[in-house]
């Protein structure tokens, strides 16, 4: 189902705009709609409808657009694009002209007054600008950040007066303890875990809450944005690279215990693994899982329209509701699972970087090394 809809998306050129009043009916329109949802948006739209006069009405609110252009900072509200997403509405600010094409804002070159497209639907006379807008995703990040800060600082304050938190804190405390005792401590080790706990706890709750927020009808897709997952993965990369000890770098550049000739080859592989593969796996896993979840849920909802002719309105609608209900349940699990996996792997990578390989082991009667638990752990990671 996922692959089918994904490949269908890849093949069909997205044509939006002048259909029957903006209604989403055909397969192409559905693919386009799903694709549009997966992207970041410059305004917050809860739902849209077409009124009796054939006008498209959007229910929601605009968000500020902040651009770093060739002439410096430019700001305006996204409502100035009038929900246009194919580059036909040109906004003029500070003598510069801007158009929005597929959720990306372009600055028109020179004296051009309209966006010209080539046959692959790429703008030829406009270029992208650094878009620092408060987009829907940024709004989501801000909301979740404030929520986390509010809820957890309240929990933190509770401990000043009492030993055991009351109210909602009683729910949060086991979660914090769970992350600390099941994810951070076993993967990093008793000695070093304390200073990484803050980052890992933040990341865990950040991803989890955003994943769950993505399942609400608000339509956030923050953890399905490559930029967000890339940022998270790069944070982990920086943390384990900076805190990696001598042994860790030694094992990357000059692996002990293997023939000298193989060492440079291993160094290349290890370096690629540490600097590229690990963060890439982190960012792609989260991005792909959350995007896939959104695509599947929306595709299943789309059964309502796609199979209307075969099953009738009642049949297709109930099928869509049934299937999307169960997939949404699974997505609730995936929301937690992906937060857990991201945090767990981050902890694991940090644990590998700070693991202490003590080279003077205890030896038994035959001179074999007796492995202690720390060694067994470091062998595993």
């Amino acid at each position: 189902m996922l692959f089918a809809s994904a490949s269908a998306m890849a093949k069909t050129p997205v044509t939006e705009g002048n259909n029957n009043g903006g209604q989403v009916d055909t397969k192409t329109e559905i693919d386009g709609y799903i694709l549009h949802h997966l992207q970041d948006a410059h305004d917050f739209t809860l739902f849209s409808y077409t009124n009796d006069n054939g006008e498209r009405k959007h229910f929601g609110f605009p968000l500020p657009v902040i651009l770093w252009t060739s002439k410096g900072l430019v700001t305006f509200m996204s409502s100035e694009f009038h929900h246009n997403d194919d580059g036909h509405v040109i906004v003029e600010k500070n003598g510069l002209k801007f158009a929005k094409i597929h959720s990306k804002i372009y600055e028109l070159d020179g004296a051009a007054t309209a966006v010209a497209f080539d046959e692959e639907h790429h703008a030829t006379n406009a270029h992208k600008v650094l878009d620092l807008s408060i987009t829907k995703s940024v709004l989501g990040v801000l909301l979740v950040g404030l929520l986390m800060l509010f809820v957890f600082s309240r929990l933190g304050k509770q401990y000043k007066n009492k030993q055991i938190p009351t109210g909602f804190g009683r729910v949060l405390e086991p979660l914090v303890i769970y992350v600390r005792d099941e994810i951070v401590r076993p993967n990093i080790g008793e000695k070093h875990y304390r200073k990484f706990t803050g980052y890992l706890l933040t990341v865990f709750f950040f991803i989890w809450i955003l994943n769950l927020l993505g399942l609400t009808p608000l339509g956030f897709n923050v953890t399905g944005q490559l930029a967000v997952t890339a940022c998270l993965a790069i944070f982990t990369l920086i943390i384990y690279s900076v805190s990696g000890n001598k042994d860790y770098w030694m094992h990357i550049f000059w692996m002990p215990g293997v023939p000298i000739l193989i060492r440079p080859v291993l160094a290349v592989i290890e370096l690629a693994s540490a600097l590229i593969i690990k963060p890439f796996s982190l960012l792609v896993r989260l991005f792909a899982n959350i995007s896939a979840g959104h695509i599947v849920v929306m595709s299943l909802i789309a059964i309502m329209y796609n199979l209307r002719e075969s099953f009738g309105v009642v049949g297709s609608t109930s099928l869509a509701i049934l299937l999307s209900f169960f997939i949404t349940l699974i997505e609730v699990l995936v929301a937690f699972l992906q937060a857990y996996i991201f945090t767990m792997l981050s902890a694991l990578f940090i644990g590998m970087a700070v693991a202490e390989h003590d080279h003077d082991h205890e030896h038994d009667a035959e001179g074999h090394e007796i492995a202690d638990t720390e060694d067994v752990r470091s062998d595993f990671i």
């Binding site: 990040v141 950040g145 933190g156 803050g198 930029a227 940022c231």
Partner: protein
Amino acid sequence: MDKLLNDFSPGLFVVQTVLLLLLIFLMVKFAWKPILNSLNEREEGIQGALDAAENAKKEMANLQADNQKLLQEARLERETMLKEARELKSKMIADAEAEAQSQANKMIAQAQEAIASEKKAAMAELKSHVAGLSLDIAEKVVRQELSNKDKQLELVESMLGEAKLN
């Protein structure tokens, strides 16, 4: 891949980096630090309390063992004391008996001695008395002999009766 790269928004990346840094900083300062410190403190407190309880239990057991020992000792001591007292009692009784016996023996011996000496004295007196009587009798007999033989015999008879009464 091209599509993915096209979707990648550098602006969002920058904003997310700044926000995440800020969030981590604020969360660590206002939430995680107090929470984790309190949790640690609480866990240490619980561990301490458990250890203290364990120690108290051990001390209690020690105390009980001590008590038991003391009790045992006291019991032993009581028994020895009782035993001693019993011995003392029987010894005292035996001593008293022995002394009483010796006293009684002594008294008996004295009494016997006294009796013996009295008897001797009485015998001596009797002897002298008998001798006197015998002399008197002999004198009277001799006198009577001289007058009447019958009378003499009667006299001896009465004399003897008198002597018996004495």
